[in-house]
Symmetry: C2
Subunit: 356 residues, 2 copies
Amino acid sequence: MPAMPPRKLSETPGNVAKPATISEVALLAGVSVGTASKALNGRGSLRAETRQRVLSAAEQLGFQPNRAAVTLNSGRTYTVGMITTDTIGRFSIPLMMGAEDALGAGEMSVFLCDARDDPIREQYYLRTLLSRRVDGIIVTGRRTQARPPIGAALPIPVVYAFISSADPHDCSVVPDEAGGARKAVEHLLATGRRRVAHITGPERHHSAAVRAATAVERLAEAGLDLVGVPMFGEWSEAWGRQAARMLLGANDPFDAVFCGSDQIARGVADALRAAGRRVPDDVALVGFDNWDVMALACQPPLTSVDMELEALGRTAADLLLAAINGEPSPGRHTRPCRLVIRDSTGFSPVRPSSGE
Amino acid sequence: MPAMPPRKLSETPGNVAKPATISEVALLAGVSVGTASKALNGRGSLRAETRQRVLSAAEQLGFQPNRAAVTLNSGRTYTVGMITTDTIGRFSIPLMMGAEDALGAGEMSVFLCDARDDPIREQYYLRTLLSRRVDGIIVTGRRTQARPPIGAALPIPVVYAFISSADPHDCSVVPDEAGGARKAVEHLLATGRRRVAHITGPERHHSAAVRAATAVERLAEAGLDLVGVPMFGEWSEAWGRQAARMLLGANDPFDAVFCGSDQIARGVADALRAAGRRVPDDVALVGFDNWDVMALACQPPLTSVDMELEALGRTAADLLLAAINGEPSPGRHTRPCRLVIRDSTGFSPVRPSSGE
DNA sequence: AAACTTTCAGAAACCGGTTTCCGACTCAAG
DNA sequence: CTTGAGTCGGAAACCGGTTTCTGAAAGTTT
């Protein structure tokens, strides 16, 4: 066996090491390129000794197959594109993490594309991804409504996550927000609340509308009316504070507020405390999103509906992988939400107003 | 000219359209593959008419060159890997957005790798990226200290962003946190504050230590002492509230608190308000991070130090692109922070305690 | 009209792998 | 000793582009 000096990456000084090719491996092992390929991939029939010789040569050179070459004759890149339509925000992150994790487990690498809600950028990324021959695309983001399909009759599968495509034949995965809202209201009812108000985001926002309608509906099933009407506003703490003060001023008694977001709920909590109402003793509070920074820092910690976005991302990735393997799942899929119960709806001991 | 029916992506029913190859383009244009390539890339000398014929054939077929093939003979992939060591968090996002944007402008696509602070995952991703022959790597994340280099003598350039590499020869880009802290203290001094306290995160966290030391130093330059000692704790609102109460109980008067994070500052604001101290009239408050959700929702809105992470990510990307083009910038680079002034240090009108 | 440029397009090698096909060799049976 | 089956490894085609090299046709010069 030729005693060629090994060229390990970690031993090469400076950033000059060029990755080894399979022909260098073959040369070192004293076999042909084809044989080396078979040895490395466990194909064909080779003597154990030969196979071993190739493997140790590869090891010695730190050989990693050039994926471009592999791609060229397999036709598969083992990559997917992930396009976020809104700028990467609070919602996209857990989604992307879940998807990336599930895809990584499937040996897939992920191209990150931040389209910033700009159709031009979006189309640019789409072209780029197609040119790179990704095996599939995940489209995510926050929108007030379903979005138009990203492209017509694409050569690869596309899965929409969190947002849904306006085309019902496209594969979309969305949280069951109505189910989440039901769970929230049911929890309030189960803990004895009867006078429930609802403060949420802008009415034109699909999420706000669905959550509000479902809350009204579920209360009606229990023979109850919402206190006042759904209060549509903004997704902000300031609106939560303002709406809570309006509610207090209306002289229509309430013992619970179901909020469209944790930020709103937090604003409500602050305004209630400032007005001398105790949470949860006087008023129970439920938020939506289960955004830890808000829900945990709230005083008291907030009961909230978790859309399980990371699991949603994972599901989207799994559906995409299945579609890539020829088993598409067209249509709109929903995933359940989970209610996370904390002190804001509990029967925790009464605490001094400045207490922790 | 052959009147072949055009096969546009958008006209093909179902997800079956296979991307056109250059030989199909050549066939349609009635030229050889080599000629088609020249026409599409503006190389060689061709008659204008021929070039045009190829271009419209490509247009007709929706031709996009297979990047794997291009990669194979150029040796360049026009991709970079972005590895986040901590799980993709609040800090990584603006960084990644900035970097992704700058790289996209350089026609680079970005592989997203979430290593979740797990060395095993990190090495897995590193191997994957090397196998994919990325042109470079950006390593980001939040750490208490400088991190060990991700690999030794890699064949491609690496830039560390936000975190820095323990090896001073590696290229790192970090915010000038000391400068940011100086700006914060100087602003407090300029607005007439003299009794400044400091509440921040864990002492073992490099950021907390640097910010605290710099605050003390800058006050000393003005002939002043910090009120008490730097209060090290956690990066949470709860700690902010607790520390503020401790401060109030210490009977050592103070007219300003410089906080190590916006979350801490918000906790401080809440505790001060609960104790009847007015912000900014009695006590001025400065945070760190300029995290909009916290800084804007705080009552009153929070003056804060912005590390300009998006610009930092952009800088990292630019340095990486330069390194890829053979102009490396080894060493540790710092970028200035920016002070964003809001009401918490201002002379805004006194507001009723429940006022908006 | 012959010799020399210049223009333009095709043939072929190449990038780094995978896979098919085929031939050489070994061994056991006839 | 011949033949057939079974092992093992190499040669070559191929994936989809780019680039170099070559040569034919057209135009220019004398």
